[in-house]
Amino acid sequence: MSSPMTKRRRPLSPHIQIYRPQLTSVLSILNRITGVLLSFFSVWLVVWLVVGAEGPRSYAVVRGATTSWIGRIVLFGATFAFFLHLCGGIRHLVWDTGRGFELRSIYVSGWLVVAASVMLTVAAWAVGLSTSAG
């Protein structure tokens, strides 16, 4: 007999070590994370404009930082974050009309968001690199 005071050690739920993340929950938190990241990246846009207003010399410094290898990697991440947030946001807007809540369509739209974000990011960089090289 166990008294109400003695606490039996029961497994906690969700059990983090064996918990398999679902596409739904991962995309949900990614939409929030990319939103926060894009808020920080938008500060870079303002820096770029303010420096542009300062004149050619300061602009060249920021342009150098942006086109450096680290700058390009960050910019690539920002591009993917943008497309993920854009596609995820459009998915949310469709949900707001009350459509697409069946389990199957949730997974179809989820994978569609992932595929579209990857393709758009790659396409944007392919075009960007080919125009800057040519």
Binding site: R32, G35, V36, L38, S39, S42, V43, L45, V46, L49, V50, G52, A53, G55, P56, Y59, A60, R63, T67, T79, F82, L86, G89, I90, H92, L93, D96, A124, V127, G128, L129, T131, S132
Partner: protein
């Protein structure tokens, strides 16, 4: 709970809906819809202007269409960002800091938007 001597009504009053949730929700969606064409335009312009020098950059920003789109983008972007960050703070911060953090987010977003718009206008008309 046991040390709280207030009546259930006193505990509940002042909590709960502030009757402003729908307005926030609607503004977030409206700004999201507006950002779809604005951000796509921005990304497309950046792709075609990567690595362009100052003269090309200034010439691009001086065209009336670009100025209009850039000002609209900055206003809607920082509005949408402030609304979104507010929700994130309200979800995870549950102390007195919450109110201060939301105010700070709003002020910073406003400052960023204003700085961006003024810089754009300065390049366009300077």
């Amino acid at each position: 709970m046991a040390s709280d001597m207030r009546s259930p009504l006193a505990r509940a009053s002042g909590l709960g809906s502030a009757k402003s949730g729908l307005r926030h929700w609607r503004a977030q969606r409206l700004s999201a819809v507006a950002l779809v064409p604005l951000t796509l335009w921005f990304v497309a312009s950046i792709i075609t202007h990567t690595g362009s020098d100052y003269r090309a950059f200034a010439a691009w920003l001086r065209s009336p269409l670009t100025v209009t789109a850039m000002v609209l983008l900055l206003v809607v972007l920082f509005y949408h960002s402030a609304l979104g960050l507010q929700v994130v703070i309200e979800d995870y911060v549950h102390s007195r800091v919450q109110f201060a953090a939301v105010i700070a987010i709003r002020l910073c977003s406003f400052a960023m938007g204003a700085a961006g718009v003024l810089a754009t206008l300065r390049i366009a008309f300077g």
